[in-house]
C-alpha cells in the first residue's frame, strides 16, 4: 500500500511540476514583455495607431 502511495505522490508531484512550469512560463514571459513595452514607450516610440488599432 505504501508503495502505491509513492506512485500517487509522484503523479501529483508531476502534475504540480507541469502546472508550475506552465504558470511560471506564462507569468515570466508576460512580465518580461510588459517591461519591454514600457521601456519602448518611455523611449518615445509609439505605435502607428496609438489608441486602438492593430499593431
Amino acid at each position: 500500500m505504501s508503495a502505491h502511495l509513492a506512485y500517487v505522490a509522484a503523479s501529483y508531484g508531476a502534475a504540480l511540476l507541469v502546472v508550475a512550469g506552465l504558470v511560471s512560463w506564462v507569468v515570466l514571459d508576460a512580465r518580461a514583455r510588459r517591461r519591454e513595452l514600457q521601456a519602448l514607450e518611455e523611449a518615445g516610440i509609439r505605435r502607428r495607431s496609438a489608441g486602438g488599432g492593430a499593431p
Binding site: L5, A10, L22, D29, P55
Partner: protein
C-alpha cells in the same frame, strides 16, 4: 483609454487586439481565482473520497490523469479551430490562439503520459505498454512538439501561422486515422488484453472529484491560454514598434 469603446459588443470586436488585451486583463484575475477555488475543492475531494477496493489508493491518480488527457485533446481541438480561423476567416487573433495553445497542450499531454505511466506501474506492473490509447497519445505528443518546433523555427509570425495552420488541420484530420490504425495494430498484437482497465461505468463516488478536477483543469487551461495570448500580442506589438523605430531612425 475610453472605457466605452473597449466594450466587446460582438464576436467580431474580439478581432481587435487592443480590445482583446483589455478584455483579457479584466477577465484574467477572475479566471485565475476561479481556477484556484476549483482546484482547492477538487483536491480536497480527491483526498477525502474513499479508495477503490480494487485499485486502492492509486485511483487518486485518475483524478489528474483523466482531466489531463481530456485537456490534451481539447488543446488540439482549440488549435484546429484556430487554424480554421486563420485559413478561412483570416482572423487576426486566431493564429495567436493556435500558437499559444501548443505549449500548454503539450504540457498536458506530457502530464497525461507521465501519470498514465505512474498509474500503469502499480496496476499493470510496467511503466509503459504499447496500449492503443497510450500509443496514440504518444503520437499526439510528437505532433505537439513538431508544431512547437515549427513555430520556433520561423521568424515571420504571420507566415508561420498559416503554414502551421495547414499542418494542424492535416493533423486533426489524421487523428481519427491514427487512432483507428493504432487500435487495429493493438488488437493484432495483443489479443484479449487483460491489461485494460475495467470498462465499467465510473462509480459516482469517483465521478464527483473527477468532474471538479476536470473543470479546474479546464479553467487552468483557459487562464493560461488567455494570458499567453495577451503576452503574444504584446510580443508582436514590441516587434512592430521596434521595426517602426528602426524605420524612423533610417529615414531621419
Amino acid at each position: 483609454m475610453r472605457e466605452r469603446s473597449l466594450a466587446i459588443r460582438s464576436f467580431t470586436d474580439l478581432a481587435n487586439p487592443t480590445r482583446f488585451v483589455a478584455l483579457a486583463g479584466r477577465l484574467l484575475p477572475w479566471l485565475a481565482s476561479l481556477t484556484v477555488l476549483l482546484f482547492a475543492i477538487g483536491l480536497t475531494l480527491c483526498f477525502t473520497t474513499a479508495a477503490d477496493y480494487q485499485q486502492g489508493e492509486t485511483v487518486r491518480i485518475m483524478y489528474i490523469h483523466v482531466p489531463a488527457a481530456w485537456l490534451a485533446m481539447m488543446g488540439y481541438t482549440v488549435m484546429a479551430a484556430s487554424a480554421l480561423g486563420t485559413l478561412v476567416w483570416r482572423h487576426p487573433l486566431a493564429d495567436v490562439a493556435a500558437k499559444c495553445a501548443a505549449p500548454i497542450g503539450a504540457g498536458f499531454t506530457a502530464l497525461a503520459l507521465v501519470t498514465g505511466s505512474l498509474w500503469g506501474k502499480p496496476m499493470w506492473g510496467t511503466w509503459w505498454v504499447w496500449d492503443a490509447r497510450l500509443t496514440s497519445f504518444f503520437i499526439l505528443f510528437l505532433m505537439y512538439l513538431g508544431l512547437i518546433a515549427l513555430n520556433r523555427a520561423m521568424d515571420d509570425a504571420g507566415r508561420a501561422a498559416k503554414v502551421a495552420a495547414v499542418l494542424i488541420l492535416v493533423g486533426f484530420v489524421n487523428i481519427p486515422i491514427i487512432k483507428f490504425s493504432v487500435d487495429w495494430w493493438n488488437t493484432l498484437h495483443q489479443p484479449a488484453s487483460v491489461l485494460r482497465l475495467g470498462g465499467s461505468a465510473i462509480d459516482p463516488e469517483f465521478r464527483r472529484p473527477l468532474l471538479v478536477m476536470a473543470l479546474a483543469f479546464t479553467c487552468l487551461f483557459f487562464t493560461l491560454h488567455l494570458a499567453a495570448m495577451r503576452t503574444e500580442i504584446w510580443r508582436r506589438r514590441i516587434a512592430a514598434m521596434r521595426r517602426q523605430a528602426a524605420r524612423g531612425a533610417a529615414s531621419a
